[in-house]
Amino acid sequence: MAKNAQHWEKTRGLLFVTLAIWAIFSMGIFLFGAEMNEVTGPFGYPLTYWFTCQGSLAIFVILIFWFAGRQEKIDEEFGFSEKGDD
C-alpha cells in the first residue's frame, strides 16, 4: 500500500503543476488583458489578442501531451503502467 500512496502523491504533484500552468494561461494572464494588449506579441499581433487566437490554445495542446508523458513516467516508475498497446 505504501507504494500506492507514493504513486498517488507523485500523481497529485503533477496534477497541481499542470493545473497551475493551466490556470495561468486560461485565466491569470487575462487579469491584465488590457495592459498586455499594448505589447506586440508573436507574428506582430497585439499580445492579448494573440493569446486568445493561438497562444493559450497551443499551450493547452502542448501541456496535455507533456502531462501525459510525465504521468506515464510516474506509472512506469512504480510498475503501474499497462503492457502492450498504445
Binding site: 496534477l15 499542470t18 485565466m27 487575462f30 486568445t52 487566437c53 490554445l57 493547452f60 496535455i64
Partner: protein, 604 residues
C-alpha cells in the same frame, strides 16, 4: 468488413477516403466550369457526404454490447482525437464562431480559450480514471462509485437536461443547412437531417458513430481551412494567414479609428431585419472586464469536463495511457479549426470595410452596393442589409448589417471564390452539426438504455433485447429533439452555452470528487447533483425574468453559481454522513492505478 485488421488499416482507409473527397471537390469544380448549376453542386455535396456517412454507419453495424456502447474499446489515440474533435465542434463552432468573433471581438474569444482549456481538466482530472473504471456511460461511473439507483438516476437526469438542450440546436443546424442545400422547407429539412443522423448511429452505436465522426472531421476541417487559406491569398493578405495577418489586424484598428463607432438611434435600428448586427466593437482591443472574460472561460472549461458526450469518447480507447494522449490529440484537432476562426473573421471584416480593397463597401454609394450580386443574394437570404440612416447617400460603418452566419457562409463568395467552395462549406457545416448531434443523442439513449433500463428495470435482460431498447430510444429521442428544433425557440449559440452550464452545475463536482476525494459518499453526491442543478436552473430563470444577478454572473455563466452550490452541498453532506464502505474505497484506489483489470468487471 470491419474486423481486427480494420484497425491496422485505418491510416490507409482514411487516406483513401480523404483522397477520394478531394477528388470529388475537384470533380465538382470541373462541373462548375462546365456549367453545372450552383444548386446541383450543393445537392451533390450534401447528398454525397450523407451517403458516405450512412455507408460507414451500415458497415459498422453490430450485435455486441461492448461494440455498441464503447466501440469495443479499440479506437487508436489519433483517430479518437479526430472523432472527439468532430463530436465536439458543433454547427455553432463551424457556422457561428467566426461570426461571434467578428461582431463581439475579445469578449467572445473567452469561448475559444474555454472550449480548449477545458480539455486540460478532462485529461488531468477525469478521463484516465473513468477509463480505468471501465464504465459504458457517465452515469454508470456515478452509479458504481457512489452506489444506489438514486445517484445513478440523478446523473441520468443531469445528462439528459444538458445534452438535450444542446442537441436541439444541432438538429436545428442540420435542418438549416439541408433546407438551403436541398431547397426544401425547414420543417421537412429538420427531419431529413434527423434521418441522416440516425443512419450513422442506429446500427453500430458508438462504433458507427466513431468511424463516421472521423470521416466527418476530415470533411469539416477541409471545408473550414481551404476557404480561409484561399481567401487570404485572394485578397493578398498572405499565404499562411495564421502567421501573417498582423498588418490586417492593425489596418482594421486604423479603419475603426477613422470611421468611428457611431451609435444608431433605436428608431433606425428597428428598421434592421431581426438577427442582423452591425460592427460596434473594436476588432482586437480588450473590450471586456477581466472578470467577464475569465468567468465565461471558466464556465466553459468546467462545462467541457462535465459533458457526457465528450467524456464517453475517452471510454473507447484501448488503455488508460491511450485515453490521456487521446485528449491531447483531440485538442490539437480542435485547435486547427479554432485558431482559424479569428483569421476568417479578420479577413472577412477587412474585405468588407477596407475602401482600398475592391470588395470593400464602406464609403461606396448605397445604390452601388445594392447592385452588387453577392449583396443581393445574401440580402435575399436575410443575412445582409444596408440602410442610409444619415441620408448622405453612402454606406457608413454603422449602416451595414450582417448575420453572424454570413462570415462563414458569404465570405468565400465576397472574396470571389468559385461556388464549389460554398458547396463544400455547406457539407462541412452539415458534418459538424451531424457529428455532434450523433454523439449527444447516443449519450442520452445509452444512458437511458444502459443505466435506467438495464441497471434498474431489467438487470437480466439479454444483450439482443438491450440493444433493441437502445435503438428504439435513439429514434424516440432523435424525434423529440427534431420536433423541438422545428419550433425554433433559442438561437444556436444560446442553447449551446446553456448546456455547458447545466452540465457543470450538476456533474462537475460529483465526477471530480468521485475520483479525487475518497471521502465523498452517495448522500453527498446526490445532494451535489440535485442542489447544483436546481440552483443553477433557478438562477437562470431569475436572471432571464429580469433579476439583476450577483457577482457579475450572467445567464451565460450561471453554472458558476450552480457548481459552487453543488460543491458546498456535496462536501457538507458527505462529512455529515458516514464514510463510504471499504469496498467503495478500494474501488477508488483501483481506479488510480492504470495497470490491471477495469474496476467494473464484465464490461470489457
Amino acid at each position: 468488413m470491419i474486423k481486427g485488421n480494420f484497425i491496422d488499416n485505418l491510416p490507409k482507409v482514411y487516406g483513401i477516403y480523404t483522397g477520394g473527397f478531394i477528388g470529388f471537390i475537384i470533380l465538382m469544380a470541373i462541373g462548375e466550369q462546365m456549367g453545372m448549376s450552383a444548386k446541383a453542386i450543393g445537392i451533390c455535396f450534401v447528398g454525397f457526404t450523407i451517403f458516405i456517412y450512412a455507408l460507414i454507419g451500415w458497415l459498422s453495424r453490430t450485435a455486441q454490447a461492448s461494440n455498441y456502447y464503447v466501440a469495443g474499446r479499440t479506437v487508436p489515440t489519433v483517430f479518437n482525437g479526430m472523432a472527439t474533435a468532430a463530436d465536439w465542434m458543433s454547427g455553432a463552432s463551424f457556422v457561428a464562431m467566426a461570426g461571434g468573433i467578428y461582431f463581439k471581438g475579445y469578449g467572445y474569444m473567452a469561448l475559444l480559450v474555454g472550449w480548449t482549456g477545458g480539455y486540460v481538466l478532462v485529461a488531468t482530472l477525469l478521463a484516465p480514471y473513468l477509463r480505468k473504471f471501465g464504465c459504458y456511460t457517465v452515469p454508470d461511473f456515478v452509479g458504481t462509485r457512489y452506489g444506489g439507483n438514486t445517484a445513478r438516476l440523478m446523473a441520468v437526469i443531469v445528462l439528459t437536461v444538458a445534452s438535450f438542450t444542446y442537441v436541439t440546436a444541432q438538429i436545428n443546424a442540420t435542418g438549416t443547412i439541408a433546407a438551403v442545400a436541398l431547397d426544401i422547407p425547414f420543417q421537412y429539412a429538420v427531419y431529413v437531417g434527423l434521418v441522416s443522423i440516425l443512419l450513422c448511429s442506429m446500427l453500430g452505436g458508438m462504433r458507427g458513430v466513431t468511424w463516421t465522426q472521423v470521416a466527418q472531421y476530415i470533411v469539416l476541417i477541409i471545408a473550414y481551412l481551404l476557404p480561409v487559406f484561399w481567401i487570404s491569398n485572394n485578397i493578398g493578405a498572405g499565404f499562411f494567414p495564421h502567421f501573417m495577418l498582423a498588418d490586417e489586424v492593425a489596418r482594421i484598428g486604423e479603419l475603426e479609428q477613422q470611421f468611428g463607432f457611431v451609435k444608431n438611434s433605436a428608431a433606425d435600428l428597428a428598421t434592421v431585419p431581426k438577427g442582423l448586427a452591425g460592427i460596434t466593437k473594436a476588432h482586437s482591443e480588450v473590450n471586456a472586464t477581466p472578470w467577464a472574460f475569465i468567468s465565461l472561460a471558466l464556465a466553459m472549461m468546467m462545462g467541457t469536463a462535465s459533458l457526457p458526450h465528450v467524456m464517453m469518447r475517452f471510454f473507447t480507447t484501448p488503455s488508460v495511457k491511450a485515453a490521456r494522449k487521446s485528449v491531447g490529440w483531440s485538442v490539437f484537432f480542435i485547435f486547427l479549426l479554432y485558431s482559424s476562426a479569428p483569421m476568417l473573421a479578420t479577413l472577412s471584416k477587412l474585405a468588407l470595410i477596407d475602401p482600398n480593397l475592391p470588395t470593400g463597401i464602406i464609403g461606396k454609394s448605397i445604390a452601388e452596393v445594392q447592385a452588387i450580386d453577392w449583396y443581393q443574394n445574401w440580402n435575399q437570404a436575410n443575412l445582409m442589409f444596408v440602410s442610409d440612416f444619415n441620408g448622405n447617400g453612402t454606406v457608413e460603418l454603422n449602416e451595414f448589417f450582417m448575420g453572424g452566419k454570413a462570415v462563414v457562409l458569404a465570405t468565400p463568395e465576397i472574396a470571389g471564390l468559385p461556388y464549389v467552395i460554398s458547396g463544400l462549406v455547406a457539407a462541412g457545416g452539415l458534418a459538424a452539426a451531424m457529428s455532434t448531434a450523433d454523439g449527444l443523442i447516443l449519450a442520452i439513449a445509452n444512458a437511458i438504455s444502459h443505466d435506467v433500463y438495464y441497471k434498474m428495470v431489467d438487470p437480466k435482460a439479454e444483450t439482443a433485447k438491450r440493444l433493441v431498447v437502445a435503438r428504439v430510444l435513439l429514434v424516440v429521442i432523435g424525434f423529440a429533439g427534431a420536433t423541438i428544433a422545428a419550433m425554433e425557440i433559442q438561437g444556436i449559440l444560446g442553447s449551446v452555452i446553456w448546456a455547458f452550464d447545466f452540465a457543470m452545475s450538476g456533474l462537475f463536482w460529483p465526477l471530480v470528487l468521485g475520483v479525487w476525494w475518497k471521502r465523498a459518499n452517495k448522500e453527498g453526491a446526490i445532494a451535489g447533483m440535485v442542489l447544483g442543478l436546481v440552483s443553477g436552473f433557478a438562477y437562470l430563470v431569475w436572471v432571464r425574468s429580469g433579476g439583476s444577478g450577483f457577482l457579475g454572473i450572467t445567464q451565460l455563466t450561471f453554472g458558476i453559481f450552480g457548481s459552487t452550490v453543488s460543491l458546498v452541498a456535496m462536501v457538507v453532506v458527505s462529512l455529515m454522513t458516514s464514510e463510504p464502505s471499504a469496498a467503495t474505497q478500494k474501488m477508488v484506489d483501483d481506479s488510480r492505478v492504470p495497470a490491471g483489470a477495469s474496476v467494473i468487471g464484465g464490461q470489457k
